[in-house]
Subunit: 307 residues, 2 copies
C-alpha cells in the first residue's frame, strides 16, 4: 500500500478552507480580528493557529490547522493504533487536522468544539494504516432545549446524508468520550465523535468529514446569534466559570488529543488554546434543587436524545 | 513483621493536632471560620475536610486530614511500591495524612502547600512495608526574595535538626517534583519534598515528619501577615489568576496524589479542594522583559538556592 497523496492534498485543502470560513464568520459576528500565528514543526510540517481573545461576543476562541509529518516515538506509536492493531512498527506518520473551540462571553450562549483529522501511518513496507477521526460537541452553562435540538439536528442531518447508522453510533460515542468519570458528568450535551474510522473507501469518509466540517457553522452560529444579547447577572457568570472549570478538568485529565500533544512536544500554545479565559472551583458547590443550574447538571448526568 | 500500632496512633494524633493548630491560626488571621465536613470511607476509615472560601485574607484554603485503611486494587498496589519493590502483593494498607493548600486574596502573598503522610502495606505475612512522605512548597505570583529565603530558611533549620543531608536532598527532590515539563517551569520557588522514606528507624522519621508539620505555620504565616495589605491593581490579580492556571495544570496533569485519589475513588471534593477559586488562561501570554512578572518566571525556569 502506498501513501494516498490525493487524500493528503484533499484533507489539507479542506482544513485550510474550513479554517478561513469559520474565522471569517466569527470575525463578522464579533467585530474582533483573530490573531494569527504560523508555526513550523522542526520534525516536519507546521500549522496556522488563530486565536480571538476578549472579543465582544467571544471571551476566547481558537481555530487551528495543523498539517504535520515525521516519526512517532515508540510510546506514541503504541498508544495510537488507528484501529489497525499496529504497535511500535510503521512509525512514519502524516496528520492533517482542524480544531475549533469557541467560548462565548454570554453565559447563556454555549461553548462549542469541533475537530476533524486524517491520519496515515507507514513503515518500510509503505502505507500501513489510514483513518479519519473527529466530531463536534456543545457545552452550555445553561440549558436551552431548542439549542441542543438544533445542534444535534444539524449533525444528524449531516450524518444521515452518508449513512443512517452514523448519527446514533457517533452520538453514543460522543456521550462516552466527553465524560468526566470522577464527577459522573458529561462535559455538556454532546454531539458526535468518532475515531479510527477506516471501514469504507477513503473518499467516502473524506466526503463525510468534509460535510461535517462544513456543518459546524450552521449547527452553532445561530445559537450564539440567538443568545449573545440575553440578559444575565454576575451569578450566571460565576456558574459559567464553574462549568468552564469542568472543561479544564476534562481537557487536562482525559482529552486524548491534549495529553498526546503535551507528551509528544506539540506546539504548547496551540494545544492549550482550548482552555477558557476564566475558570472557577468552589468547594462542594451543588446548585439549588429545581434551579436552572440543577437542570443543566441533570442533563450532564443523564445524557438525552436530542434528534 | 507486624503492623506498628504505636506509629499509626502517633501519626493520627499528629495530623489531627496539626490540623487544629493550622485552622486556628488561619481563622484568627482571616476572621472567617472554616467549614468542616467529616466523611467516612465505605471501605474503611475517613477524614475531616476543612475549607475556607472567600475570606478576607484567603480566597480559598483547605486543611484536610484522612486516616484510611483497606485493600488496594492491583493497579494501585503496583503503582505504589513505597520504595520497597512491592508489586501487586501485600495489598492491605493504612494511611494517615495531613494536606494543606492556602490561596491568599492578595497577589503579593504566596500560595502554600504542605502534605505529610505515613503509609503501611501488609499481606498475609504481616507488615510488608511502611514509609513516610511529604513536603511543603511555596508558589508566589510575585517574587519577594526575602519571603523565599524565610520559607526555605525555616525548612532548612527543621531538616538540619534531624540530618544535615536532608535539606539539600529534599530541596532538589521538590524542584524536580513540582515541575511542569510542558512549560519548562517549576510551579513556584519550591521547598522540600520526599517520598518512600524508610531508611532509618520509624520513630526517627516520625519525629522528623512531626517537626516539619509543626514548621508549616512559622514558615508561611509571617509571609501572609507581611503581604496581606500590600496595594495591588487589577493587572496583578490577572497575573495571579494566570499563575493559578499553572497550579491547576500541575495538579491535574502531574500531581501523584490528585491522580491517585481520582483513580481510586477518593472523596472528590477533598481531593479537588487544592484547586484555586479562580484561574485564567490567555493565549501566548509572555510578560514584558524586565517586569516583575518576568522576574518570577525566570526563577521558575531556573530554580535557585534560597537557604
Amino acid at each position: 500500500m502506498d501513501a494516498i497523496p490525493t487524500m493528503r492534498r484533499n484533507m489539507e485543502s479542506l482544513v485550510r478552507r474550513t479554517q478561513d470560513e469559520i474565522c471569517l464568520a466569527i470575525e463578522r459576528l464579533d467585530g474582533t480580528p483573530f490573531r494569527e500565528d504560523r508555526w513550523e514543526r522542526p520534525e516536519g510540517g507546521g500549522g496556522v493557529t488563530r486565536v480571538l481573545q476578549e472579543g465582544a461576543v467571544f471571551e476566547k476562541g481558537g481555530v487551528n490547522v495543523s498539517v504535520v509529518h515525521g516519526t512517532l516515538s515508540e510510546e506514541a506509536a503504541r498508544s495510537m493504533g488507528g484501529g489497525s492493531g499496529l504497535g511500535a512498527e510503521a512509525r512514519e506518520f502524516f496528520a492533517a487536522g482542524l480544531s475549533v473551540v469557541l467560548h462565548p462571553v454570554n453565559p447563556m450562549a454555549p461553548t462549542a468544539h469541533c475537530n476533524y483529522r486524517y491520519f496515515e501511518r507507514s513503515g518500510p513496507g509503505g502505507l500501513a494504516a489510514w483513518w479519519f477521526g473527529g466530531g463536534s460537541d456543545l457545552t452550555p452553562a445553561y440549558l436551552f432545549e431548542e439549542d441542543a435540538r438544533h445542534f444535534h439536528g444539524v449533525l444528524k442531518a449531516t450524518c444521515d446524508r452518508h449513512d443512517p447508522a452514523f448519527y446514533p453510533r457517533f452520538k453514543r460515542w460522543c456521550d462516552g468520550y466527553f465524560f468526566l468519570p470522577h464527577r459522573g458528568e458529561a462535559r455538556g450535551v454532546g454531539g458526535i465523535f468518532f475515531d479510527d474510522l477506516c471501514d469504507r473507501a477513503p473518499e467516502h469518509l473524506f466526503a463525510f468529514a468534509a460535510d461535517c466540517a462544513g456543518s459546524f457553522l450552521p449547527s452553532y452560529l445561530p445559537l450564539v446569534e440567538r443568545r449573545r444579547a440575553e440578559p444575565y447577572a454576575e451569578a450566571h457568570k460565576r456558574w459559567q466559570a464553574l462549568r468552564r472549570g469542568r472543561y479544564v478538568e476534562f481537557n487536562l485529565l482525559y482529552d486524548r488529543g491534549t495529553l498526546f500533544g503535551l507528551k509528544t512536544g506539540g506546539r504548547l500554545e496551540s494545544i492549550l488554546m482550548s482552555l477558557p479565559l476564566e475558570a472557577r472551583w468552589e468547594y462542594a458547590r451543588e446548585p439549588e434543587p429545581g434551579s436552572e443550574e440543577a437542570r443543566l447538571l441533570e442533563v450532564c448526568r443523564k445524557p438525552r436524545d436530542w434528534a
